[in-house]
């Protein structure tokens, strides 16, 4: 009985971002920084097709395989959604019908988004192309297919606080908003416990790669010793200090980071230099 109440989905906020005039240009910057297209564009999308958020990309995990849904501006996507519904989906991980989303969708990061950023993003996305592709059902077995249980998972593992509680400069604060929020770096770079919750005590210290061999690296100062200039250049060009070039999952990330203002790349680097160094 207690579990039923604890696992209840968050309610809608009907007056979400009231009075704010949405800024589509700003919404586009949020869309890039949050990397929506990286997961929600169709799997073999060319550069020109990356704005069609048809879904279908597979994400393997210890709990099954998840398929990104269609979030295009049509009836098979989010075309009929209201701003409060979108806001609850993105920041609380709850669908318009009150169902919990699987945390393959990084709402634990997006919960940190400013209301105006959510509103601007929604306005931008409503202008994107429409796709008719129906959602592919997730390939998740019992007991992980019980969505209500995700409510308990959220209570246990989704914390409202930022991981880095002290920020010494506005630059680091901006970096925290990008890393812990929009760019959701921790989702890949932080190890998880047996139930898939992020191990906040090991923040950004690396994790096994869920979809292929190899390891996602530790990006705390305990392992990442590149200079600020080298890191900023890497986020812009994909070139490491040894002039190797990033490949695999980081290419999509760098494509987005390269489009942000240099001050945002510098802010991300300032934050990475400020997090606890872990071996």
């Amino acid at each position: 009985m207690g579990a039923w109440f604890l696992s209840a989905p968050a309610p809608l906020t009907p007056d979400f971002a009231t009075g704010h005039q949405p800024d589509v240009g700003q919404g586009e910057k949020i869309f890039i920084a949050a990397g929506c297209a990286s997961c929600h564009a169709a799997p073999e999308a060319t550069e020109a097709q990356k704005q069609i958020l048809a879904g279908g990309h597979a994400f393997a995990s210890d709990f099954g395989t998840f398929y990104a849904p269609n979030i295009s501006a049509g009836p098979n996507g989010i075309g009929a959604w209201t701003l409060p519904e979108f806001a609850r989906a993105v920041t609380a991980g709850v669908s318009p019908t009150g169902q919990h989303y699987y945390p393959a969708f990084p709402y634990a990061a997006y919960q940190h988004m400013a209301e105006t950023d959510v509103a601007d993003l929604f306005a931008y996305m409503q202008n994107l192309p429409v796709s008719d592709t129906p959602d592919k059902p997730h390939d998740v077995g019992f007991p992980f297919n019980i969505r209500r249980a995700l409510g308990l998972w959220k209570v246990l593992f989704v914390k409202k606080d930022f991981v880095l509680t002290q920020v010494q400069t506005p630059e680091i604060e901006r970096g925290r908003y990008l890393v812990e929020g929009l760019a959701h770096c921790g989702e890949c770079h932080t190890p998880r416990n047996i139930l898939g919750g992020l191990d906040r005590g090991a923040w950004l210290s690396g994790a096994p790669n869920p979809s292929s061999k190899g390891r996602i690296p530790n990006i705390t100062p305990g392992a990442l010793t590149w200079s600020e200039a080298d890191l900023i250049y890497y986020f812009e060009s994909g070139l490491t200090p040894d002039y190797d070039s990033a490949g695999g999952s980081m290419t999509a990330v760098i494509d987005k980071l390269a489009q942000l203002p240099e001050s945002d790349r510098a802010a991300i680097v300032a934050y990475l230099k400020a997090v606890p160094a872990l071996p």
């Binding site: 060009s237 490949g247 290419t251």
Partner: protein, 158 residues
């Protein structure tokens, strides 16, 4: 037969030290597969030349048109090597020591060859870079060519 003297020993160790020091740190171990080792060394040479271009772009060394031209020229020459001579059948990741080659190299040879053409095109532009602004502008497409190929045809670290 001449006796093996101290000076022979000194020369031999110097040669051995020089040989190990000249292998860049990103490939500390050499593959036992000759084709894999050869193409890894080729990429090391690309990286050395990228280093000259990148250091100039970052402002670490002064812009020198001749240096930029020869570094971009080196990358351009390597981009024109026939890739099938190095990425030979049966050397994909898992099948050959230290290889990170994805099987798409052999299932999509036209796509793979196109990546080398993109590298040749981008480096040719940089060969004509007259100033720092031109260099910086040209680094985008060249870095992008590296990234695009690695994204599709190179697997994760072993």
């Amino acid at each position: 037969m001449k006796a093996f003297t101290k000076s022979h020993f000194a020369i031999a160790s110097a040669a051995a030290l020089f040989a190990t020091a000249s292998v860049a740190s990103s490939h500390a171990t050499k593959s036992s597969n000759a084709d894999v080792a050869a193409r890894h060394m080729m990429m090391e040479v690309v990286a050395k030349n990228m280093g000259i271009l990148g250091s100039t772009a970052k402002g670490e060394i002064a812009f020198n048109a001749g240096l930029v031209q020869s570094a971009a020229g080196g990358i351009n020459m390597l981009a024109k090597i026939d890739p099938t001579s190095l990425w030979t059948e049966g050397t994909e990741q898992g099948a050959a020591d230290l290889s990170r080659a994805k099987t798409e190299i052999w299932s999509d040879p036209a796509g793979f060859a196109q990546k080398f053409e993109d590298m040749a095109t981008a480096s040719a532009v940089l060969m004509g870079a007259e100033d720092l602004d031109a260099l910086r502008a040209g680094m985008g497409p060249l870095g992008g060519a590296c990234k695009a190929c690695h994204e599709s045809y190179r697997g994760p670290k072993n």
